[in-house]
């Protein structure tokens, strides 16, 4: 029985392999956590897919699956691998284990996992320095807030999220050393109901500016309703908060997707771990709005300095919540320290779930 199944699997894999080239086009596939209409994180990944279609459409066929829960992702990922995808982008942190598991079974398919830390010969990782945007947001928040308190809606206490909170706080403290950040954990990436409720709670606790590390436009919508201010996440969400959005962290995955698929087409593709930021254009900001010109100018200067490398948000010494410091004076923290960040900086009104 075992032999039979193995041989069947081998035959199936061989068939899968031939399918990849049957159409003459390279098949590139994406697995999305949310819906492409979420106007946030998944929407931006799909914008990247569209850029691939536009630039490489004659050589590449694109396929996506949306609404794939992290807890049950192995099935859809394996289905794509078998359906002849040559490269599969799995776009959420929680897809890490299923991506590694499926990749081991399909060594000829290239996998690209967003925001994770486990790799394999056919699993690359890619991520963006979202925290750079957060620093600029922090500066703007401290300038614009009347109460001196910002609300921050967060998903999971992974380094990705923690570094964003810290960078926001450091940006804010550069303007107002007594600035406060209040935090609500919603334990999900995408749940507009929960995100909206969290925004209401934070506003009722005295925050007058909201930011979030979740995928929908719910928070900015609530900010608009309550005549408060906030930031868009992942995507320009100005139409949900025309009077509320100050700016938005906009993920721009297109250039990366085009580059990697081009490399696969011309044979220069190698397993890699990328972490691009403002300088590479992967992380951008939506136009500054709903703020006076002097704040706009300061925000622009901060963004320009980060982009040129003049300013690094995580420059030592950084004081942690417990009073100890990390980093050498005047020197940026090493990338590894940022990628494994597991502590809050001083002034954050929350206990990091440990």
């Amino acid at each position: 029985m075992k032999k039979l199944l193995i041989s069947a699997a081998v035959v199936a894999m061989a068939l899968g392999g031939t399918q990849a080239h049957a159409a003459g086009k390279l098949k590139a596939c994406w697995v999305y956590l949310g819906a492409i209409g979420d106007m946030g994180y998944t929407f931006q990944h799909n914008e990247g897919l569209k850029q691939v279609q536009k630039e490489l459409g004659d050589k590449v066929e694109t396929v996506f699956v949306e609404n794939v829960p992290e807890a049950d992702a192995a099935g859809p990922i394996e289905r794509l691998a078998r359906d002849g995808c040559a490269i599969i982008f799995t776009t959420s942190f929680g897809y890490m284990e299923p991506t590694i598991q499926v990749a081991a079974k399909y060594p000829k398919v290239m996998f690209e996992h967003a925001t994770g830390f486990k790799t394999a010969p056919n699993v690359s990782t890619y991520n963006a320095k979202f925290y750079q945007d957060r620093y600029v947001q922090g500066v703007v928040a401290a300038k614009m807030s009347k109460t001196g308190i910002a609300g921050y809606i967060v998903s999971f206490p992974i380094p990705e999220v923690v570094m964003g909170i810290n960078s926001f706080m450091l940006g804010a403290q550069s303007v107002n050393p007594n600035f406060k950040v209040k935090i609500v954990w919603v334990n999900t990436w995408f749940d507009p109901g929960k995100e909206g409720d969290a925004a209401k709670v934070l506003f009722s606790q005295g925050a007058d500016i909201i930011t979030q590390h979740t995928d929908s436009a719910a928070a900015i919508t609530v900010a608009e309703e309550q005549k408060k201010l906030g930031f868009g996440q992942s995507s320009d969400q100005i139409k949900f908060g025309p009077h509320a959005q100050l700016t938005a962290a906009v993920d721009n995955w297109g250039p990366y997707y085009v580059r990697r698929i081009k490399q696969l087409l011309d044979g220069t593709y190698k397993q890699a771990e990328s972490w691009d930021g403002m300088a590479e254009g992967t992380v951008t900001l939506a136009p500054f709005a709903n703020m006076p010109d002097d704040v706009k100018a300061l925000a622009q200067k901060t963004a320009d300095d980060i982009k040129s490398g003049k300013l690094e948000p995580f420059t030592g010494p950084i004081t942690k919540q417990d009073g100890t410091t990390v980093g050498e004076k005047g020197k940026p923290l090493p990338a590894g320290d940022i990628l494994g960040m597991n502590y809050y900086v001083k002034g954050i009104d929350d206990k990091l779930p440990q």
Binding site: M1, K2, L5, I6, A8, A9, A12, V63, V65, E66, N67, V68, P69, E70, A71, D72, G75, P76, R79, L80, R82, D83, F93, G94, E97, F117, F156, P157, I158, P159, V162, G340, N342, P353, Q354
Partner: protein
């Protein structure tokens, strides 16, 4: 004109047998309408959903993997429901089983010998039984409605699981993500391709329960208490005992399903945990399988197909994965409706 259901003097045996077939046909018809309403060719839609998953070996393996917990739980529930014991909470019992089994790799990570596997399975069974014992106790001691208590305990189990996997059981190397360490070596079930030992256990359990239910005194006792409680009591059968028996049986099997799932498929605990949903689908399995443990095997495969079809439709047709839930719900509706119409006839009553 009000409707009234009137009991048929002699329900047709043939119709009783065919009722699930009619229900499946009606579900397919409904599915065709859903596809058509989304602008998808109904025949192509039904093909992608129900036939394509059966067209190659890989999918058949997946089908068996997904059917495994459904059969384990459906078979246990078939016995329970025959005895008129309404355990709706196997989802929570499964989750407790998974949690208990997962304690071993978390706390005894380096324990590697052939003993660890049966120990984990046994812990899984115990976890499910312990969780199922609560509604049984509440029913016997306080006459609390077991439908409500067992159902509500599903959510309690979910919160306990979530709290522990986020906290005490979390992998210290896992960058704070809510999951445990990976199970290794003997902490996993042996498997053939994707199919794991749980599938074998499910078939054994279903066959064993069918034998018990139809060939042993215990089965007669349960069926009598279910069909005619007073007659059962006159015969000296204890209703309380049978309530405990049914809950511990279905709970133990659900716990085993949970242990098999994490040891054979997930290889770690993580939250949110996707499999408990199967606990609710197992209720459909029990009914569609005519409350016969062997029938649960057939019904379990069919319901597993709705999960696979949902995945296929999501990838190929770009319709939401929620469609699987729609099919499952509609199928249960038609099964119960057909059964009702076999036993009763509809009478139109003129307004007086």
């Amino acid at each position: 004109m009000p409707l009234r259901l009137e009991k048929r003097a002699e329900p047709s045996n043939t119709m009783a047998l065919f009722s699930p077939v009619i229900a499946i046909a009606l579900t397919l018809l409904f599915g065709a309408m859903v596809f058509a309403s989304r602008g998808i060719d109904p025949l192509h839609g039904l093909y992608v959903y129900f036939l394509e998953p059966l067209s190659d070996e890989w999918n058949l393996e997946k089908l068996i993997v997904k059917a495994t917990p459904l059969v384990l739980m459906g078979a246990g529930l078939a016995v329970s429901y025959r005895a008129n014991v309404w355990n709706i909470g196997v989802a929570g019992q499964l989750q407790m089983g998974a949690l208990m089994a997962g304690l071993v790799p978390v706390y005894f990570t380096s324990w590697q010998d052939p003993v660890v596997m049966p120990v984990m399975l046994a812990l899984g069974i115990l976890g499910g039984m312990a969780w199922a014992a609560i509604p049984a106790f509440l029913r016997v001691r306080f006459n609390a409605n077991e439908i409500l208590t067992s159902l509500m305990l599903v959510y309690v189990a979910d919160f306990i699981f979530d709290w522990l996997v986020r906290g005490a059981l979390r992998d210290p190397q896992g960058h704070n993500f809510p999951k445990t360490v990976n199970f290794a070596g003997w902490q996993n079930l042996p498997s053939w391709g994707d199919i794991h030992l749980g599938a074998v256990l499910a078939v054994i359990a279903a066959a064993g329960l069918a034998f018990m239910l139809f060939r042993m005194l215990k089965g007669f006792e349960l069926r009598t208490l279910g069909a005619a409680p007073r007659a059962g009591r006159f015969a000296g059968f204890s209703a309380s005992q049978s309530i405990y028996f049914c809950f511990l049986l279905a709970g133990g099997l659900a716990g085993l399903a949970g242990a098999c799932d994490v040891m054979g498929v997930g290889h770690q605990l993580q939250t949110p945990y996707a499999t408990p949903v199967y606990g609710f689908v197992a209720i459909i399995v029990a009914f569609l399988g005519r409350l016969n443990p062997v029938g649960a095997i057939v019904a379990g495969l069919l319901l597993a197909l709705t999960f696979l079809g949902g995945e296929a439709a999501q990838t190929t047709l770009h319709i939401p994965d929620k469609i699987a839930k729609v099919f499952q719900g509609v199928l249960l509706f038609f099964v119960l409706a057909c059964d009702t119409l076999v036993l009763y006839r509809i009478k139109w009553e003129a307004r007086k």
